[in-house]
């Protein structure tokens, strides 16, 4: 991965005050930048990483699996690159995964496009636990429809896991032999399944090329066929006149005597400090980066961190505990082929049934298994190997046997369980650890709950039934994998009451009237699905409200 120093547009002039400053060019920040700039507002976005270089992605090269375990590993503590910030995870059961760059963590996501379901917005009403969202699935739907047209989603309409909707912008990707085998088991059991819906177009779309099924989605798509905002949003935003400053790491949001945000201080790659002034500030730095920045932005007026009068900034961290089931079959499934991406999904056990001994549920996604090193690994981590009491356990003749049996013959089911919010699961500022600019790093305190444990055990058992129903000759279970914190949610809760939430239903902080949070930090609950579709839809909803209400916006 070669760092690119190029900036997509010029940095803001010193002392220039813009209409909107966005911190973070991931999915939520990119949506906001495009749509705010489209109506003529002056927009600057600060991004600590760089514009991706597609040629740096290793998917076409023989060393792909080797570098996926280090340079392209989703865990920033494993990658340890200068633009990543370190995270203290010693008190966390799950390692957070993310990527610093334009497009944010979607650079390394699997592009499963799974909007939150109706019940996800009404958990308190339906199940008597956690919280309802301030709006419903139906309220969000128009924004989801619009985002899907910008993102270039592929899929088959009619999934009975969702209320009826229209078609997707591009036809479904082939589910391949992996998807057919996975579906076979569910079909025999009479359980729900559906061809995978992915943010990966099957035909060229909005600057994206068509997927070629290379199967290296999670280490960056060398074809430019996985939807990331550097391709689908930033060309439009820049054309609109938005400015994007890369290599810009924000260390503090500034506040004036009236309690209004006035902009942010950031550090460029040469270590120089800059001040970007703005009438409105939107934070889109993910469920860890956003509370980190707010907690770092202390002042006399906000001694416990910015917008933290509720004490909830950093609290209620949700990361979706995750288990995986590997099914191995006699048949040749060409299981290195993509997309990776989900070939099919299942929502058979998504909704609450209290008789199961836990609340809420999980979505399953069937994926391919990669190359020879993938016979024992999943997304760069060796998890499908047994214990190694002696060399012969995982090496020698056994290595050959395992690779021969599994390579090309495997289906990996990923199980994403809903993570219920708990105040004790949190992001703090580490007293000692810093990033490469000397800015204090975050520390996580996170325990997988009893509900999650029960949920995952139940789902793994059901998943094994499905894998065996399709004729598996071997199954391997990885219960609650540590390196699976792809989804960073909930640390600046959205709600109506300033005493129990950080932002209102439009993403505006209760404490600072011109400070907004548009990323998944604001999610009151986590759902049990991949959140990018909902993150981008919520960001568009909040952006539209900000635009409509801009004449009433309080400014510094």
């Amino acid at each position: 991965m070669s760092p690119s120093s190029k900036e997509a547009s010029r940095p803001a002039r010193r002392d220039e005050e813009v209409d909107v400053l966005i911190i973070g060019a991931g999915p939520s920040g990119s949506v906001a930048a495009k749509h705010l700039s489209a109506v003529g507002l002056s927009v600057v976005t600060l991004e600590q990483g760089h514009m991706p270089d597609r040629n740096a992605y290793a998917g076409r090269r023989p060393e792909w699996e080797l570098v996926s375990q280090k340079q392209w590993h989703p865990n920033p503590n494993v990658r340890d690159l200068p633009r990543d910030y370190p995270i203290n995870t010693h008190e966390s059961d799950i390692n957070p995964l993310m990527f610093a760059g334009v497009g944010g963590s979607t650079t390394l996501y699997a592009a499963h496009w799974m909007p939150f379901l109706p019940s996800d917005f009404r958990v308190r009403t339906l199940d008597g636990i956690a919280d309802d969202w301030p709006f419903t699935y139906e309220d969000l739907l128009p924004y989801l429809d619009e985002v899907e047209r910008e993102v270039g989603v592929s899929g088959l309409p009619g999934n009975p896991a969702y209320p009826p909707r229209g078609s997707y912008p591009t036809p479904p990707l082939p589910i391949g032999k992996v998807g057919q085998k996975a579906a076979q088991g569910l079909d025999r059991l009479g359980w729900h399944w559906w061809p995978g819906t992915n943010a990966i177009p099957s035909v060229p779309y909005n600057g994206l090329n068509a997927c070629v099924r290379r199967g290296t989605c999670m280490t960056g798509c060398p074809e430019g066929a996985k939807s990331t905002s550097d391709i689908t949003y930033w060309p439009h935003a820049l054309k609109n006149g938005a400015r994007l400053v890369t290599g810009a790491r924000v260390r503090e949001i500034e506040i004036n005597d009236q309690g209004r945000a006035t902009g942010a201080i950031y550090i460029d790659e040469n270590g120089r400090e800059h001040r970007q002034r703005a009438k409105t500030v939107i934070v889109c730095a993910n469920g860890i980066g956003t509370p980190r920045l707010l907690l770092l932005s202390k002042s006399k007026r906000f001694p416990n961190g910015l917008a933290n009068s509720s004490g909830l900034v950093g609290r209620r961290l949700m990361m979706h505990p995750f288990s995986a089931v590997l099914g191995v079959y006699d048949e040749d499934l060409e299981s290195w082929r993509g997309p990776f991406g989900q070939n099919i999904d299942s929502f058979q056990y998504y909704e609450t049934d209290e008789k199961r001994g836990f609340m809420r549920g999980a979505k399953w996604g069937a994926m391919p298994a990669g190359g020879p090193l993938g016979a024992m690994s999943f997304v760069g981590t060796k998890v499908f190997a047994g214990g190694e009491a002696g060399i012969e356990d995982s090496w020698g003749a056994n290595l050959h046997k395992v690779v021969e049996r599994r390579l090309g013959h495997s289906v990996v089911w990923g199980i994403i369980g809903e993570d219920l919010p708990e105040a004790s699961n949190r992001v703090e500022i580490d007293p000692d650890l810093t990033d490469s600019d000397g800015i204090p790093a975050p520390k996580l305190v996170y325990k997988v709950s009893e509900n999650s444990e029960r949920l995952l055990r139940f789902h793994v058992d059901r998943c094994v039934e499905a894998v065996k129903a399709a004729g598996a000759i071997e199954t391997v279970i990885v219960h609650q994998m540590p390196d699976t914190g792809w989804h960073l949610l909930g640390t600046c809760k959205m709600g109506d009451d300033p005493k129990t939430s950080v932002v209102n239903q439009w993403g505006r902080t209760h404490d600072v009237p011109n400070l907004y949070i548009f990323d998944a930090s604001a999610f009151p609950t986590s759902g049990g699905v991949n959140p990018t579709a909902t993150i981008m839809s919520v960001s568009l909803r909040q952006t539209r409200r900000l635009i409509a209400d801009r004449r009433n916006q309080e400014t510094p």
Binding site: G59, E63, W64, L117, P118, L126, P160, L373, E404
Partner: protein, 145 residues
Amino acid sequence: MSVTAAASLSPEQRSLFRALADVLIPAYGKMPAASAVGVHEALVDEVLKHRADIRDDLLRALQAAKGRDPTEAANDLLRNDEAAFNALGLAASGAYYMSPKVRELLLYPGQEDVKYDPYETPSYLVDGTIERVIARGRVYRPTPR
């Protein structure tokens, strides 16, 4: 990027790596031993080019194997120096599975691109499987009113 002389392994180190790699990846059935495809030659250089982070751990593993039976040395590393053993394992397996001969024997073409017709009717639409899913009805709970 080429491997510099300073970064490459010495002949002695290559010899040690060759012996240890054959303990981890011996010949079996149709599959050749690690040394038979040259993991200790250009392939290990290729591994270290892309994974310089494992170099120190690998060199420690090789140093520990000097003058010892390679099987004993490998087991000792597994028990007493996990980082060195993991570096050795990754270097051996990474090199082995990058070998074109090994990939040919495994019928693994690498992560290839695949041509397909996105407008072709998928089999699940005509063989009744999707119909059965739809017939079972919705599996979501609607928004309560």
